[in-house]
Symmetry: C2
Subunit: 214 residues, 2 copies
């Protein structure tokens, strides 16, 4: 285990914690207090650390995802379902007129884009919840720009599928890419969005007051 820690740069107590939580399988015992770890252990350790640090996921969700990656019976068409698990907030909208209006808006959007059969996805419920809340707090301007956010999301998803590639016959690799790419991609897109905001705003509001040091 000391060797594994050295290879991956992950402290021994962290490795022990991952094994205890069922995120990484224990090594093959080779004696008292000794076990053998392979390259797949190092790879899995780096993956779990990446998900805990940047994926914004709970241990329970990561355990569930690892089980999906390890499940040889998982079908290709279930592949993207795994990514749905990485929606961090899955809060149901409160029933009421805001929820109904939000659902109507989202259904119209899906219809316009030809995105079919998605109303049972967890992400559908999340999107309805966000739109209903925006309506409740009076942010109608943002709801009116829904197509702009959908354009951004579509651009991101197209990029995701370029990363994944047309061949998904190596299921383990494919599920892993979807899960890591989706969860870490959220953080990447969020940070780039903030940088783009600042860059665009500086051009847009230049000279509207404030000192311009550069």
């Amino acid at each position: 285990m000391a060797e594994l820690s050295e290879t991956t740069g992950i402290p021994v107590p962290t490795i022990k914690y991952y094994i205890r939580e069922g995120l990484v399988s224990p090594g093959r015992p080779t004696g008292r207090n000794q076990a053998e770890y392979g390259e797949e252990h190092a790879r899995r350790l780096r993956l779990v650390r990446a998900l805990t640090e940047y994926g914004n996921l709970s241990i329970a969700v990561i355990r569930d995802l690892m089980e999906q990656i390890d499940n040889p019976g998982l079908q290709e068409f279930m592949l993207l379902g795994a990514a749905q698990k990485t929606v961090t907030r899955r809060q149901e909208a409160r029933p009421g007129p805001s929820k109904e209006e939000a659902q109507r808006r989202l259904d119209d959007l899906l219809e316009r884009r030809g995105w079919k059969g998605l109303t049972e996805e967890p992400a559908y419920r999340t999107a309805v919840g966000v739109l209903a809340t925006l309506d409740e707090v009076g942010y109608h301007d943002m709801i009116d720009e829904l197509d702009g956010y959908a354009d951004a999301a579509q651009r991101a998803a197209e990029t995701d599928l370029r990363v994944l590639g047309p061949d998904v016959s190596d299921r383990e690799r494919a599920v892993e890419i979807v899960v890591v790419g989706t969860s870490m991609g959220d953080t990447l897109i969020a940070s780039l969005r903030r940088l783009a905001q600042v860059a665009i705003a500086e051009r847009m509001y230049a000279g509207q007051g404030g000192s311009d040091a550069e």
Copy 2:
């Protein structure tokens, strides 16, 4: 307070909690165990609930943001800085070759897009951290598609600034829009990205095995 709870649909214990945490100001006392609350209280309550439920933000971050909204001295050119506070993960990359390479990649991207003077932003450090981690776990395909994610982020930021509008002279409103729009927008974009993934993948992998019930 019972009336305020009825108007907003937020339970009394939750309102008390928000007041105790300094997220909402206490009402004007009108007697023993009685206080007067105005329309601005109802509005702020809905806003705080929206941020806790969908903004994926801690109470400490929300308190900090409310102080910025309430700060009359905030300058226009500081406006977008408020959004930077809502970067959920602000983990520094570990020093090493992955971090250096990540920084080089991001600097090249910013250069290509003419996004200048952003290296001191918290979001810059987050992006470097994500890219360095992707490098460590061997996801180079995703790093190679960085421009695709930047396109998505730019599209989102352009939409953000359309929502904000060209006139930012009403500072209070502007800061609020930036903060709410950025944090809730992350959740909205993430959920739409997952829906787009499923929709696009279904076309892309149709007939690659698995039963096609529809």
